[in-house]
C-alpha cells in the first residue's frame, strides 16, 4: 500500500471501530514509513484534543439576532495566502465550519420552536474543533468568519493539487461554486430586504454547508 492509499485509509478509519481489520494493514505500513507515521501522529494529536472538548455549550443568551446580522452581511472574500495548507488542515477548517453551522441551525430552531426543536443546550458535534470551542463564549458570531476560513483553506488545498484534476472536473467545480455563490448572494439580498425569514436563514446555512462539502470533496480527490 502506498502513502496516498494510507492517507485515504487514515480518513476512512477516523471514527471506525478499533477492531476494523484495516488497522492491521495501516500499522504495518506505519512501521516502515516515517512520513506517514508523523502524519498519523499529527492527526492523533488533533483527534485527542477534540475528544477532550466538552460536548455541550449552553448559550448564555439569545444570540440569534446577532447571528442573523452577521449572516446578512456580505460574505468575506477569502484572503489570498498561497497554496500552503494541506488537505488535512482543510478538513480541520471544514469541521470548524460545520460546528459553527450546527450551532446556527440549532439556535434558529430554538428561537423558532417547531416539531423536534432543539433544547436550550446546543449540542456541539463531536468533531468540533478547538478553535470553535475557544470561541464558544460567543460562538455563533464566528460563523461567517469560520465559513470564509474553511472555504479559503479548502480552495488552497485544491489549488495546490490542481494539476491532478481533469479540466472537466475543474469546470464542474467552478460552475457549481458559481451557482452556490449566486444562490448565497440572492438569499443574502432577500434577507437584507426582509430580515424575518427563518426558512431562508436555514437555506442559507444549507448553502454554506453545501459549498464546504463541494470544496472538501474536490480537495480529497485532488490530493
Amino acid at each position: 500500500m502506498n502513502c496516498d492509499a494510507i492517507e485515504t485509509l487514515l480518513d476512512d478509519l477516523e471514527g471506525a471501530p478499533g477492531t476494523d481489520p484495516r488497522r492491521g494493514e495501516l500499522e504495518q505500513h506505519l512501521e516502515g514509513c516515517p512520513r506517514c507515521r508523523a502524519r498519523s501522529a499529527r492527526r492523533a494529536a488533533l483527534a485527542g484534543a477534540v475528544a477532550r472538548l466538552p460536548r455541550e455549550v449552553a448559550p448564555a443568551r439569545d444570540l440569534w439576532p446577532e447571528v442573523r446580522a452577521r449572516i446578512e452581511a456580505p460574505a468575506v472574500p477569502p484572503a489570498r495566502r498561497g497554496w500552503a495548507p494541506a488537505a488535512q488542515w482543510g478538513a480541520l477548517a471544514a469541521s470548524l465550519l460545520l460546528a459553527a453551522l450546527a450551532l446556527v441551525v440549532a439556535l434558529r430552531s430554538r428561537t423558532d420552536p417547531g416539531p423536534g426543536a432543539a433544547s436550550a443546550a446546543v449540542e456541539v458535534p463531536a468533531q468540533a474543533s478547538p478553535a470553535a470551542l475557544e470561541a464558544s463564549a460567543d460562538p455563533l458570531l464566528e460563523a461567517q468568519h469560520n465559513y470564509a476560513a474553511a472555504a479559503d483553506a479548502l480552495l488552497a488545498a485544491i489549488g495546490e493539487h490542481r494539476g491532478q484534476l481533469s479540466p472537466e472536473t475543474i469546470e464542474t467545480l467552478e460552475h457549481n461554486l458559481a451557482l452556490i455563490d449566486g444562490a448565497i448572494a440572492e438569499i443574502q439580498a432577500s434577507l437584507h430586504d426582509a430580515p424575518q425569514q427563518p426558512g431562508r436563514e436555514k437555506m442559507l446555512a444549507t448553502l454554506y454547508k453545501k459549498k464546504i462539502d463541494l470544496l472538501w470533496r474536490v480537495s480529497r480527490l485532488s490530493s
Binding site: 484534476l165 472536473t169 464542474t172 431562508r200
Partner: protein
C-alpha cells in the same frame, strides 16, 4: 504532399495515438461474505455494480493505459476495489485513467462507491448503498434498504420496487428522481441548489412532507398546492401529511423545480 497522402498520414497518426492509449482488459475476483461491505473507487469511466447469489466479488472490464493496477482486496468482510494510477509526474488530470468495470457482489452487501466523472449504476442489490460522485450520473435500480447519494452535477435516479427504509440525496446542479415506496418511520431528505427534484410515490403513501424553495416551482399531485413563502420573493413552501404521516420527507431546493407525483 498531395491531398490523399496528407489524409493517409493523418489517419496513421490517429491510429498510432489510439494504439498508444489502448484500454486493457482486467478480471479479478475474491471470496466475500454474503452481507459484507464492498467499496469501489474510480475516477472516470463507468461502474456497473450488480448483485448476485454467490459469495464472491468479481470485477471485470477494462482500464486505461495509465492505470498500473486494478486492486481488489478483501480484509475480514470488507472488499475494496480501487485503481493504482501511474503518477510519475503527479498530473492525473491529463492521464488515461478511465475504468469501465462490471462489479458483481453478493446481493446483501452494503456498497460504497466514490467517483469523479464515472457513471455509476447499481442493480439487484438489497443492502445499503452510499455513492458520491462529482459529475457522473448515478442510477440505482434495486431494492436497496438505505440510500445515501451525493452528486455535484450528475443526475441521481433511484427506482426501487420495494420500500426504501432511509434515504438522503444531495446535488448542487444535478437532478434527483426517486421512484419508490417509503417505509413507516423512515426519513428521507432531498437537497439541491438548481437541480430538479422529482418524487414518484405510491398513491397511499403515509408521510409528512416539508418542502421549501427559494425560487423553484413546487408541483404537488399528492396533496394541497404549495403557497408563496412571503411577499418578498418567489419562494414556495409546502407542508402536509398523507395517511398517518408515518414517514418524514424533507425537500429543499434553491431554484430547482420540485414535483411530487403518484407512481
Amino acid at each position: 504532399m498531395s491531398k490523399p497522402r496528407v489524409l493517409l498520414f493523418a489517419s496513421l497518426l490517429v491510429l498510432a495515438a489510439s494504439a498508444a492509449h489502448a484500454d486493457r482488459s482486467v478480471s479479478k475476483s475474491v471470496a466475500a461474505e454474503a452481507d459484507g461491505h464492498v467499496s469501489v473507487e474510480v475516477i472516470s469511466g463507468k461502474v456497473e455494480l450488480i448483485g448476485w447469489d454467490r459469495d464472491e466479488v468479481e470485477v471485470t472490464g477494462s482500464v486505461g493505459d495509465d492505470v498500473e493496477e486494478l486492486r481488489v482486496r478483501s480484509v475480514a468482510g470488507h472488499v475494496s476495489i480501487d485503481l493504482e494510477i501511474d503518477d510519475e509526474d503527479g498530473r492525473h488530470g491529463s492521464r488515461d485513467i478511465d475504468a469501465r468495470l462490471t462489479v458483481n457482489v453478493p446481493r446483501n452487501s452494503s456498497v460504497e462507491i466514490e467517483s469523479v466523472s464515472a457513471d455509476v449504476s447499481v442493480e439487484e442489490t438489497d443492502g445499503a448503498v452510499s455513492i458520491e460522485s462529482v459529475s457522473g450520473r448515478v442510477t440505482v435500480r434495486a431494492a436497496v434498504r438505505e440510500a445515501e447519494i451525493e452528486s455535484v452535477s450528475g443526475r441521481i435516479e433511484v427506482t426501487s420496487a420495494s420500500a426504501l427504509e432511509e434515504g438522503e440525496f444531495e446535488t448542487v446542479s444535478g437532478d434527483i428522481a426517486l421512484d419508490a415506496a417509503l417505509q413507516a418511520g423512515g426519513s428521507y431528505s432531498f437537497e439541491s441548489v438548481s437541480g430538479n427534484i422529482e418524487l414518484r410515490l405510491p398513491r397511499d403513501v403515509s408521510a409528512s412532507f416539508e418542502v421549501e424553495t427559494f425560487s423553484g416551482r413546487i408541483v404537488n399531485a399528492l396533496g394541497p398546492e404549495a403557497r408563496r413563502e412571503s411577499e418578498h420573493g418567489p419562494g414556495m413552501t409546502l407542508s402536509f401529511s398523507t395517511g398517518d404521516g408515518a414517514a418524514r420527507v424533507e425537500i429543499e431546493s434553491f431554484s430547482g423545480r420540485v414535483e411530487l407525483r403518484e407512481r
